[in-house]
């Protein structure tokens, strides 16, 4: 296990766990028409963006908007360890083509790409390659935070859970004294909306019913960035299980990640598919009969890679606030894979 010493978030409902919990308690759910680009022609008319814009940054050319939010969040953390003793683990939802960067290269091309260099590839920005590098944020964060210890970058919808787990293992091995884990993802991009709608994962109506309610018809595509500061100690554990399926994980897989002593609170996977939702609730109720139920992804929108970090921050805040003594956060974002994090009373923060 590791202990959460600090958390910084950028979500559709706020930048701290307390802000988010207060707004959710007041009945808010993130979602609305797409403010980021012309969204009327897309099948997903309802999205949950992080409001506002990230700070101006000299690294803007290297990072997407949501990645810059992640840099802002990470800058709020105050690790006592630095340099070789501060590890850095990042989780990126996915690398997605950005049309604005491609257009100069493709506008005048022949279909068979004859003469490709002169017809456009020479117009690529000199740093285009670096701008799309998979570990840009890792590099820039290591500079910003003076984090030079062990670290890794992970990709995909459950990358946040992977990053948390790897940070924990490095802490336990004693190769670092503190770890910063940063995750970000955004599904509010044209190609994601197309793909999520096509496979039925995202709702194609305005103001869709939330997960675990009748009529749930898919998630609201969202985005988030999160940064956690971890140290050795008790409080946070991560577990994963897989079944090799190409769709949502089976109930058995969910139960495997939910193993352990019964908890007081469960933050559900929030897939918003009625059959899966019902099976999830039923199975978890048997294993954790006294647990209350909430769903941060239903309130915040589908977050992808940072889900585990956001859940960890929220559940940790709820435990500190006395709402519960232990909690389980579930995620079913990747095909055939389920992840869970268990949060218990952790070390007091400085």
């Amino acid at each position: 296990m590791s202990a959460i010493l600090g958390a910084a978030l950028r979500t559709s409902l706020g930048n701290t766990a307390e802000q988010i919990l207060e707004r959710v308690a007041a009945g808010e759910r993130a979602g609305g028409p797409n403010p980021l680009f012309e969204g009327e022609t897309y099948a997903c008319p309802w999205v949950a963006p992080v409001p506002g814009e990230p700070s101006r940054s000299p690294h803007a050319r290297f990072l997407s908007r949501i990645a810059r939010f992640a840099m802002d969040a990470a800058a709020e953390l105050s690790p006592s360890a630095t340099g070789d003793r501060l590890g850095l683990y990042t989780a990126v939802g996915g690398l997605r083509a950005h049309w604005d960067a491609f257009m100069p290269a493709f506008e005048k091309q022949n279909a068979d790409l004859r003469g490709a260099w002169g017809k456009g590839f020479r117009l690529l920005h000199p740093f285009w390659m670096l701008q799309h590098l998979s570990n840009n944020s890792q590099a820039l964060l290591s500079m910003q935070l003076d984090a030079r210890g062990e670290g890794q970058c992970f990709g995909g919808a459950k990358a946040g859970a992977e990053a948390l787990q790897s940070a924990h293992w490095a802490l336990e091995a004693g190769v670092i004294d503190a770890a910063i884990v940063v995750a970000y993802d955004s599904f509010i991009e044209p190609e994601c909306l197309v793909e999520m709608a096509a496979r039925g994962a995202a709702a194609t109506v305005k103001d869709p019913p939330p997960a675990y309610t009748p009529g749930a018809c898919g998630v609201v595509p969202g985005e988030a960035a999160a940064a956690l500061l971890l140290v050795r100690g008790a409080g946070l554990a991560v577990r994963e299980a897989a079944d090799g399926g190409s769709g949502l994980p089976s109930v058995d897989t969910l139960l495997r990640v939910a193993e352990g002593p019964p908890v007081d609170l469960i933050d559900g996977a929030g897939v918003a598919q009625p059959d899966f939702d019902a099976a999830e609730r039923s199975a978890l109720a048997e294993r954790h009969p006294k647990a209350g139920w909430q769903c941060s992804q239903s309130a915040l929108g589908f977050m992808g890679a940072p889900t585990a970090l956001v859940q960890a921050a929220l559940l940790d805040a709820q435990i500190r606030g006395g709402a519960c003594a232990s909690a389980l956060g579930l995620s079913a974002a990747a095909p055939g894979l389920a992840a869970a994090l268990r949060v218990e009373a952790s070390q007091p923060r400085d």
């Binding site: 022609t41 290297f62 340099g83 070789d84 990126v92 996915g94 690398l95 083509a97 049309w99 257009m103 506008e107 091309q109 790409l113 004859r114 003469g115 490709a116 260099w117 590839f121 020479r122 690529l124 000199p126 740093f127 285009w128 390659m129 670096l130 799309h132 590098l133 998979s134 570990n135 890792q138 590099a139 820039l140 290591s142 500079m143 935070l145 030079r148 210890g149 062990e150 670290g151 890794q152 970058c153 992970f154 995909g156 992977e162 293992w169 091995a173 004693g174 190769v175 190609e191 994601c192 197309v194 793909e195 299980a241 897989a242 090799g244 190409s246 990747a334 095909p335 055939g336 894979l337």
Partner: protein, 419 residues
């Protein structure tokens, strides 16, 4: 801190510029051949970078796939054309070979998958209809975006019927090594007892070559000797492509099913430069730390290393920084420690580099043959290490392999001979 030395490699699969399997890869290294040459898989004549180390196939179609992935239930992946993507095809081929060599069967399907993947963009050929329509599809409709970074993992999983967890590594040029390190960690931690780990990449396409050319990272010379690691006349890297996958197992599991251990994953370490996004830390101190951590995990002193498989990109900045790191870690032993870089022979395989180069390390341990450094003729005085230019017969017990990625991510993996 000492690794319990539980993790062994029982299967190795390689697709490289030398050919489509491990045998051709090892033969190429033994023969000290170089694969850098004119790009053939697309018309690169007008590009500033016109040479690369290509896997010897111009284009991958259904017929080619059926010949090179026989019997593999790749089904929809091939039908829908996904496997025409070079790195996906290479990943599947290397995975199949490793799986076969390890003698894996139904019971091994619980294996976890820890894979490194290169830069993922839309399938290039899908742009063709969009171009014919005058870029009407400006919002991406109809294009198959390879946005899921776990695409190769899913293809391999489907191909082999894997049911274990999947981890995708995106640490650029350090990703392949970190994928293997992560696989070993999963086994050491008792999360699983078998992992398929490695990496695949190909930047040999107009976007990859064009992007690298704009960055001015490749050598400006369109020559076979484009990449000259640690050489005084070096002037850039050569782009390569390929894949390497390994079956990693708990030693007891391997023994119980009669699998032959080929090498032991003894230690690993990683670090960040924290210096710049575009160039390495000049004093090599962070890279040195990754090497030291690998040695510490292995519980071995620097003097026990018999060969160092360097990152050695042949760029002006990487090589001296790495040399300083090696000197820092090994001290006077650096005068005797044989160091090689494979990148003069096979190019820089980016996310697959660490994995493919580890396959060479397995060969070195099994054959007591240290690959040479192609196109290295005159050691740069700024690189005070012992670079071996020619393949060298020498018994080795421990090999250290370095992978230092863009953005200053460093990884070192230590392999040990299996008795």
């Amino acid at each position: 801190m000492s690794s319990a030395a539980k993790v062994v490699i029982t299967g190795v699969g390689v697709v490289s510029p030398f050919g489509f399997d491990r045998q051709s890869f090892e033969a190429g290294l033994r023969g000290h051949r170089s694969t850098v040459g004119p790009i053939r898989s697309f018309d690169a004549r007008t590009f500033p970078t016109r040479v690369a180390a290509e896997v010897p196939v111009r284009s991958i179609d259904a017929e080619w796939l059926s010949g090179h992935l026989p019997g593999a239930p790749v089904g929809a992946w091939a039908e829908q054309g996904w496997l025409r993507d070079r790195k996906l095809a290479f990943a599947c081929m290397a995975a199949a070979e490793a799986w076969r060599q390890a003698g894996c069967r139904v019971h091994e399907r619980e294996a976890a998958l820890s894979i490194a993947l290169g830069l993922e963009q839309a399938l290039l050929e899908d742009f063709a209809p969009a171009l014919e329509d005058g870029m009407r599809l400006a919002h991406g409709e109809g294009l198959r975006y390879r946005a899921p970074v776990d695409l190769a993992a899913r293809a391999i999983g489907d191909q082999l019927g894997l049911t274990g967890r999947v981890t995708v590594h995106t640490s650029a040029c350090a990703a392949g090594a970190l994928a293997v390190a992560q696989g070993a960690t999963l086994i050491e931690r008792g999360v699983t007892s078998i992992v398929l780990a490695g990496g695949a990449d190909s930047m040999v396409n107009p976007l990859g070559v064009g992007g690298m050319a704009r960055l001015q990272a490749p050598s400006p010379r369109a020559e076979r000797s484009a990449c000259r690691p640690f050489d005084a006349r070096r002037d850039g890297l050569a782009i390569g492509e390929g894949a390497a996958l390994f079956v990693l197992e708990h030693a007891e599991r391997a023994a119980s099913r009669g699998a032959t251990p080929l090498a032991r994953v003894r230690g690993w370490g990683s670090s960040q430069d924290g210096h710049a996004a575009t160039k390495p830390l000049p004093d090599g101190s962070a890279a040195a730390r990754a090497m030291r951590l690998a040695l510490e995990r292995a519980g071995r002193p620097p003097g026990a290393i018999g060969w160092l498989n360097a990152h050695g990109t042949g760029t002006p900045l990487n090589d001296p920084a790495e040399a300083r790191a090696i000197r820092s870690v090994f001290g006077s032993h650096a005068d005797d420690l044989p160091v090689s870089s494979l990148k003069g022979a096979i190019g820089h395989l980016m996310a697959a580099a660490g994995a493919v180069e580890l396959a060479a390390s397995v060969m070195a341990l099994r054959e007591d043959l240290l690959p040479g450094t192609a196109h290295h003729e005159e050691l740069d005085p700024e690189c005070p290490i012992r670079v071996i230019a020619e393949p060298t017969q020498a018994p080795v017990e421990l090999v250290l392999s370095n992978s230092f990625g863009f953005g200053g991510q460093n990884a070192s993996v230590l392999l040990e001979r299996c008795a």
